[in-house]
């Protein structure tokens, strides 16, 4: 029983793993020492560790974003929520509170933002893109209001530890996102939450008719998204020992959405895999790493990124997958076709 579900999960993330391997190999090509990891100053040190470490904000964001997207929503405000959370955490420790208080305060504010989005979407029935656009625009202002427009720096070692510290040599952010990712994935799959969220994303009308409390569930996925964003915001602030309200998490919502899609999740909601999204986040970070390591002039950054992403998406697109399948199947006698037609009866 157990092993079969593990096998199913593995099958689900195989394409993402292959792509990740390919992009990592690209890293290796531009920088042969890429895979070297050493133990230095009591911490693991190496490009691979950087990918895991720098991927933390996107990875954290995409945990919540996956759930939001599964309900057919989208959360554009996560970048701004990161800024708010960072600002709140920084201002709390600057005011002399302990790092625990600061962390809790930031998370609480993040969840509050999530609830706000959730209410707009689930109760007021505003379309998710627009509903979260409001906070995306205003949120950064709120963050700056907290920091009064400055980069609020702090020295609190506890808080700093969250961003640049290590636990048994492993950078804390890595531990945080891996732990949170596994925890959320487990909660969602070990309870019925995952199925109910998917049901809402596929057909909210039917789900409500079946007695699912879609309002509460939708609000809670935005809440989770706000929580993840807040955690990411605290990490980013802790990393540079300062809350940069204007730049923290800027445009990171797009990376998070991209990660979710590269993870093979449909933007139209429904079936989702958090694990695959996390791998998607690592893929994006590896692409960034290629760009940095290649030493190309920065003018080319975006073009390179765009081309790699397009390549990844094309390989992943249903049509290409289908074509590959046909090629493979034509070698065998009886074609049992994948569900291409499936598309036609959706909507």
């Amino acid at each position: 029983m157990m092993s079969s579900s593990i096998r199913a999960t593995l099958r689900r993330v195989t394409p993402q793993l292959i792509i990740l391997a390919a992009v990592l190999f690209l890293n290796f090509l531009v920088f042969p020492d890429f895979f070297r990891v050493e133990f230095q100053n009591g911490r693991l040190f190496g490009n691979l560790i950087d990918v895991l470490n720098r991927g933390a904000p996107t990875a954290l964001l995409c945990i919540g974003m996956t759930l939001v997207i599964a309900t057919k929503g989208i959360d554009l405000s996560v970048g701004a929520v990161m800024a708010i959370a960072g600002a709140v955490a920084a201002s709390l420790v600057v005011d002399g509170y302990s790092w625990q208080t600061a962390l809790l305060g930031a998370l609480a504010v993040g969840m509050l933002c999530g609830i706000w989005n959730g209410i707009l979407v689930a109760v007021l029935r505003i379309q998710p893109i627009v509903a979260t656009l409001v906070l995306m625009v205003a949120g950064r202002g709120i963050a700056q209001l907290v920091t009064e427009g400055t980069i609020l720096t702090f020295v609190n070692p506890g808080l700093v530890h969250l961003g640049s510290g290590t636990v048994v040599g492993i950078p804390t952010p890595i531990l945080i996102w891996v732990f949170l990712g596994l925890a959320v994935a487990a909660i969602v799959r070990k309870t019925a939450l995952g199925m109910l969220i998917e049901a809402i994303g596929i057909n909210e009308g039917s789900s409500r008719m079946a007695g699912i409390n879609s309002r509460v569930l939708i609000t809670s996925v935005y809440l989770i998204s706000g929580f993840c964003a807040a955690l990411a915001g605290v990490i980013v602030a802790a990393d540079i020992k300062g809350a940069d309200a204007n730049n923290a998490g800027l445009w990171l919502e797009l990376d998070a959405i991209l990660a979710v899609v590269i993870g093979g999740n449909s933007l139209l909601g429904g079936r989702f895999s958090i694990l695959a999204s996390l791998i998607g986040a690592l893929i994006i970070q590896s692409v960034n790493s290629v760009i940095l390591l290649s030493g190309m002039p920065p003018e080319f950054n975006l073009v390179i990124k765009a081309l790699i992403i397009i390549a990844i998406l094309v390989i992943q697109s249903p049509t290409v997958k289908h074509a590959l399948y046909i090629i493979r199947a034509s070698a065998q006698p009886l074609p049992s076709e994948p569900v291409k037609e499936a598309k036609e009866s959706t909507q």
Partner: protein
């Protein structure tokens, strides 16, 4: 008839494979000009699939299509429309966001100087709809009209598109007698014009009324084609099911029933349904009859909390209860199979298994997941009990045939073990075999003490299982028939506001 002519459209050896299922296995079909050809078979026999392969909506995996002696290979519905094949697919496939007129003329709008002429389009729409006995405003969005009206619009559109062949996949499933009559008169006209018409339905009476020949499919295989003039219903049923349908002795539902379960007082919502009173007892089936738009669906929705009432109250076993949402209704052990299974019923991408346990799980709450073994047990039990045909419990429910989806939905609600079950058109799109089973099931549930409220357009069916029948007209309850009063004739009279109705 007409066999001396050559067929307009001929399919030879059409095959279609799905993962885990062979939907069509070398099926042949020949359509002659001026004939109505019924395509029959159980739920999941492959009728809709054949249509979709024929019209290019699906890519077929084998076989050829010959139109007027020329081999054609439509790649899309657009192609087949160009070839003069008009189709109404099983689920209404129109655009709810566009107006009725726009739906009717999409792709072939009347133009003046290269621009679409709205005025002409509206005029033409009115004329067209008048032929089908509809006098609705074609400039309103389609979504403002009921499923039935949408169905008629879809038919009207397909009729306009069909130069040679018209295909109707269960067009009458949500239609009333009057509409059916109208539709048949249109079909007769088209037939006279020399069109070949494919007619899919589960109503055998209608088949014999209008069709010339019938082709029967079973499990994706062609069983045979018969000229109906010299065939009996029993023979057709036997062909379809591969067995005899045993005649059940219909015992009239007893007038005596249990204690009062539900008491509805003055429940209503302005602009939707007039306030009404209704009492339902344990072990009682209350039927709702009425014409299209008479408010049966609205009544059901109101009682289930899917639509909020703006007045009145509901008492469950004497206790006042709140019904602000389906969730609250479900927690009171209510259950409802909605009329529009595509938009309010199935959760398409979830597996059949998940769809079956969905309502039960929703009632339990997300943090108390049903154990895997329990889920499997439930799903398997209901698949067996209701004879749901599927390749695997893991397949997405939207891949099931229409009738099997309906059964799966029924399973979803039975799994919650409700004390009060609302069924809105429960047998829509269900084949003869399953139809009988569902009627038997309703009777069994009643005998077990469950209270049921059933809205249906099929009067025979209502007569068969109802203890009482409420007749609705213009969103108002107009009369109530009890015991021996319940006959098809009486219901029809009540609906038609015939003063004689009250007399038995």
């Amino acid at each position: 008839m007409a066999s001396d002519l050559s067929p307009v459209l001929e399919c030879r050896g059409i095959s279609k494979f799905f993962p885990g299922a062979i939907a069509l296995d070398a099926v042949d079909l020949a359509l002659y000009p001026g004939e109505v050809h019924a395509l029959l078979g159980e739920n999941g026999a492959g009728k809709s699939t054949l249509i979709k392969c024929l019209t290019g909506a699906y890519r077929r995996d084998g076989g050829s299509i010959i139109l007027e002696n020329e081999e054609i290979s439509p790649q899309s519905t657009q192609d087949s429309q160009k070839f003069g094949i008009g189709t109404v697919y099983q689920e209404v496939n129109l655009l709810p966001n566009m107006t009725v007129a726009e739906n009717l003329f999409l792709g072939r709008q009347p133009t003046r100087r290269g621009l679409i002429s709205q005025k002409r389009m509206l005029e033409m729409s009115r004329e067209l709809l008048a032929e089908f006995g509809l006098s609705i405003d074609p400039s309103e969005p389609l979504s403002t009209y009921s499923v039935a009206i949408q169905q008629v619009v879809a038919i009207a559109r397909a009729v306009e598109l069909s130069g040679k062949v018209l295909i109707l996949d269960e067009p009458t499933a949500s239609l009333d007698r009057d509409e059916v009559e109208l539709l048949f008169s249109v079909i007769e006209k088209l037939k006279a014009r020399g069109l070949a018409i494919v007619f899919i339905t589960h109503f055998l009476d209608q088949v014999f009324e209008i069709s010339d020949r019938a082709t029967v499919l079973r499990n994706g295989r062609l069983i045979g084609t018969r000229t109906l003039a010299n065939t009996t219903q029993t023979e057709i049923i036997t062909l379809m099911l591969g067995r005899q349908l045993e005649d059940r002795i219909q015992d009239r539902a007893p007038a005596e029933t249990g204690d009062t379960l539900l008491e509805i007082r003055n429940l209503g919502r302005r602009g939707m349904i007039e306030p009404f009173d209704l009492t339902i007892r344990k072990g009682e089936v209350v039927g709702l009859a009425g014409l299209l738009g008479s408010g049966r669906t609205e009544t059901a929705n109101l009682i289930f909390g899917a639509v909020q009432a703006d007045q009145g109250e509901v008492l469950l076993e004497g206790q006042k209860i709140a019904l602000r949402s389906p969730r609250e209704a479900v927690s009171q052990r209510f259950a409802m199979c909605p009329e529009d299974r595509k938009s309010d019923g199935i959760v398409g991408d979830l597996s059949v298994r998940e769809n079956i346990v969905l309502a039960l799980q929703a009632r339990q709450g997300w943090f108390r997941p049903l154990p895997k073994s329990k889920v499997n047990e439930l799903a398997e039990a209901y698949v067996k009990a209701l004879d749901i045909r599927l390749a695997s419990l893991d397949m997405p429910i939207r891949l099931l045939s229409g009738g099997n989806q309906q059964k799966a939905l029924l399973a979803r609600w039975l799994a919650t073990n409700p004390s009060f079950l609302i069924l809105d058109e429960p047998t829509r799109g269900i084949d003869v075999g399953a139809h009988a089973e569902i009627i038997a099931l309703i009777e069994r549930l009643r005998e077990d003490g469950m209270a049921l409220l059933v809205a249906s357009s099929e009067l025979e069916e209502l007569v068969a299982y109802s203890n009482r029948v409420i007749v609705l007209r213009d969103r108002q309850q107009v009369s109530e028939l009890k015991g021996d009063e319940i006959t098809t004739t009486n219901i029809v009279r009540a609906i038609a506001d015939d003063p004689l109705a009250e007399a038995v």
